[in-house]
Structures are given as C-alpha cells and as structure tokens.
C-alpha cells in the first residue's frame, strides 16, 4: 500500500497534543526498549530518535487498544491482532495515565462516538434532533470559498449536512 510519506512527515512537525521522551519497545519478540521522542499529532503517534528531526515511524491510532501494563507503562495494540503490542515506559504512573487518556481520545472514531453521544443527549433534552450545523464554521463568518478553497464553485445556500454527520443517521 503506497502512502503519501512526505505529507505524513510534514504532519509530524505540526504542534502536538502530547510529546515526551519515553521508553519504547516494538511488538517483535526480543525487541529492546529504546528512548524515543514520542509525539501525538491528530490520530497519529510519531516516534523519533531523540536527536533526529525526521520520524522513525508513525502509528495510525484508529481501532487501537491502549492498556495499562506494569505501573508507569502502557501498550498500544490493534484490533486485528491484540497480542502484538507496542510498549511504552513513562517516568511516572501519572504521566502514563495522561498518555493513555490522550491516546484513547486520539481517533476519528472516538470523535464520531462523541458526536453520536451529544446528538442523542440533545435529542433527549429537546425532543428533536440537534440543528446540526450545516457547517459550524458558517457562524464564525468564514466564507465557504475561504474554507473550502472553492473559488470556482457556485455558492451553495442549501448545503446538506456534511457527509460525516449524515453517516450517523
């Protein structure tokens, strides 16, 4: 599977949700823990050798499971093979807890679930579906053109809810 590596490398340079030097051990048997700069950016976890600018690798965090291992340590594995674990060592259980919570929230699927949760809550409160924004950016006065770079597209006054929202119906 090809992928746009350059863009992903550029993403690794973006401001991170969390970043720290942790001990990291790959899933292969007999792998040794090494110090890595670990950086969480959107739904990717990048890891670098501590003094290098280019990431060694990235983990897409969709459908991952984050679990406490020994105190101060956690693991990430993926649903298709939960026994294959990436291990991380933190300097304290507190730091470990922080990372685990951040990683659990760091996926599109998690946000989708939040969306569903809020929609249901609103429905229950108001007895009707939320006036799901045609586009939340609309009210911030950001024009459709600027937002979507749709310079040539005619302005569509009757936009349907975004497909991401529509898919939840």
């Amino acid at each position: 599977m090809r992928y746009n590596e350059k863009e992903l490398q550029a993403l690794s340079r973006q401001p991170a949700e969390m970043a720290a030097e942790l001990g990291m051990r790959g899933p292969k048997k007999g792998s040794v823990a090494k110090r890595r700069l670990v950086k969480l950016v959107v739904n990717f976890l990048f890891y670098f050798r501590p003094d290098e600018a280019e990431p060694l690798g990235a983990l897409l965090l969709e459908r991952c499971r984050v679990a406490q291992e020994e105190p101060g340590g956690f693991s990430i594995s993926f649903v298709e093979d939960l026994s294959r674990k990436y291990h991380f060592e933190c300097c304290s259980q507190e730091q470990c807890q922080e990372w685990m919570e951040a990683l659990r929230r760091a996926s599109y699927e998690y946000m989708r679930q939040s969306l569903i949760f809020y929609r249901n809550e609103i429905r229950k409160m108001t007895g009707k579906a939320p006036c799901t924004p045609q586009d939340p950016l609309e009210q911030f006065g950001i024009s459709e053109e600027a937002r979507f770079q749709l310079n040539s597209l005619p302005r569509d006054e009757q936009t349907c809810t975004g497909s991401q929202l529509g898919v939840l119906d």
Binding site: M1, R2, Y3, N4, E5, K6, E7, L8, Q9, A10, L11, Q14, P15, A16, E17, M18, A19, V41, V42, N43, F44, G57, A58, L59, L60, E62, R63, F78, E80, D81, E94, E98, R105, Y108, E109, M111, R112, S114, L115, Y118, R119, E121, I122, K124, M125, T126, P130, P133, P136, F148, Q149, L150, N151, S152, L153, G162, S163, Q164, V167, L168
Partner: protein, 259 residues
C-alpha cells in the same frame, strides 16, 4: 519512515463508517504509470476521517494507496485532458505535487470536494464542540424552564483543584469563583461560557459540567451512571492537569495549540 500498514489496511477494510465513497479517475501517485490515452485510471475510493484510500475495485481486499489528508486544501483543477469534474488535493509540504482526481459528474465532483475539505481532524473537533455547545444551551434552557438546576449544584461537581486560579496562558477565561468566592450557580448560569470553554480546548462533557455546575439529574437523561462515569473521567484528568501545571511539571508540548 515506518507505518503500521497492516493495521491501516485493516482499518480501511473494516466496517467503520466511510465518510464518502465512489469511483474516481486518478493520474497521480508515485509509481502510477500513465495510461496511453491519458484518461487516468479509475479506482474505487473510500474516505474515512482524514484518510483517503483507493482500491483496484469495490471488492478488493487490500488498499492500493492511502492519502493522509491533514493539512490539505482541495480545489477544482484543470485535468490533463479536456476532462471535466477534476479536482486537486494540495499540500503545503515542500516538494509535494498535488493529487489530481476526477469524478464522473458534477454532483459527484462537488460532493467529493466538500467531503475532502471537511476531512481534517480539526474540522471534526469543531463539529463535536459545536454540538457540545448546543447541548449546553439545551440544558440551560431546560433548566430555566424547569427552575430545577438553580439549587442543585453539588460540591462534588465543582473542580476541587486549588490551583485553578493560576491558569496557563491558553486559559483566557477565569472561573466565576475567581471573582466571587461564592461561585453561585446563578452567576455561572447567566453567562454563556460555551464558546470560551471551547477556546480553552476543553473537550467532552467535562466542559459542560464545569460551566454549569449542574448535575445531570434529569428524567430525560437515561443511563446516568454512564454519564457520571464519563464526566468523572474527564474531571479526574483535568484535575491532574491543573495539579501538574501548578507544580510546573507540565511537559512543554501541552501548551501548544492543536493543528
């Protein structure tokens, strides 16, 4: 650079909802040989979140390619041949050529451009916060109608961290308690803090709880224990964050804004 490709491919094929799918013609991608007619190759594309996958066909069991869409802009494009309905995915990254794609018709083209433009993590977060804010408003108007919540602030719903008075630079807004030691719920209730809280970067039900000091005791809210656990988790982690900030042991990156 390594990538957990097996997991990525598994995610592509999984039953997680696709935000958009359809056939598109592509000229792009490294390693794609040009077709003799220059008409582009037609593949099945699946958009999930900020990831665009392509497959040889609808039935393929392995993705051909992945385009990570963070940081991209989408615009209409001139196709190599007098082809209509083309658009390009452009990145800021140096040395990266735009990905050229073409739909089968204008409706499909518009739908794709819209879907791809909204495919960033940040956008989704915005939508979640918007709904969060609406839920807050719904709660408030419900409270006003019922005159129930004015008195129902319980101690446990207020954050206990004593260092709340020393917010980091990203916390542009102070709690009412900082002005008035009473911290009555009436005071909080009168202020629309929804937007301010989102500026703080608070996510999830915690921000609702903090702004209203309300307990979700409402006959309409089923599964209260689930809600309570959900809120509780967020409160705990926020408390930890405040305590850490107070100790000054915060890792530097926490102060950075999200992309």
């Amino acid at each position: 650079m390594k990538l957990n490709k097996r997991s990525v491919a598994h995610y592509a094929l999984s039953d997680s909802p696709a935000d958009h799918t359809g056939f598109l013609r592509t000229w792009g991608g490294p390693g794609t040989p040009p077709t003799p007619s220059g008409a582009g190759r037609r593949y099945w594309f699946v958009l999930k979140g900020n990831l665009l996958f392509s497959f040889e066909s609808k039935e393929s069991r392995a993705p051909l390619s992945l385009v990570v869409l963070e940081g991209c802009t989408v615009e209409l494009a001139e196709a190599p041949v007098p082809e209509e309905f083309a658009f390009a995915i452009r990145f800021d990254a140096p040395g990266v050529r735009p990905h050229l794609l073409a739909a089968d018709g204008q409706v499909a083209q518009e739908a794709w451009v819209k879907a791809l433009s909204r495919a960033s993590f940040g956008y989704m977060r915005l939508v979640v916060r918007e709904l969060e804010s609406q839920l807050q408003d719904a709660r408030q108007s419900l409270a006003l109608h019922r005159c129930v919540f004015q008195k129902s602030v319980t101690g446990c719903n207020k954050p206990q961290a004593p260092d709340r008075r020393a917010p980091g630079p990203e916390n542009g807004h102070l709690f009412p308690r900082d002005r008035n030691s009473n911290g009555s719920v009436e005071e909080r209730g009168s202020r629309p803090v929804g937007r301010d809280l989102t500026e703080w970067g608070l996510q999830g039900p915690a921000s609702l709880l903090l702004s209203r000091g309300q307990s979700p005791v409402s006959p309409e809210t089923s599964c209260f224990s689930t809600l309570h656990d959900w809120y509780g988790k967020e409160i705990t982690e926020l408390r930890r964050g405040w305590q850490q900030r107070a100790k000054g042991s915060q890792p530097e990156s926490k102060q950075q804004s999200r992309p």
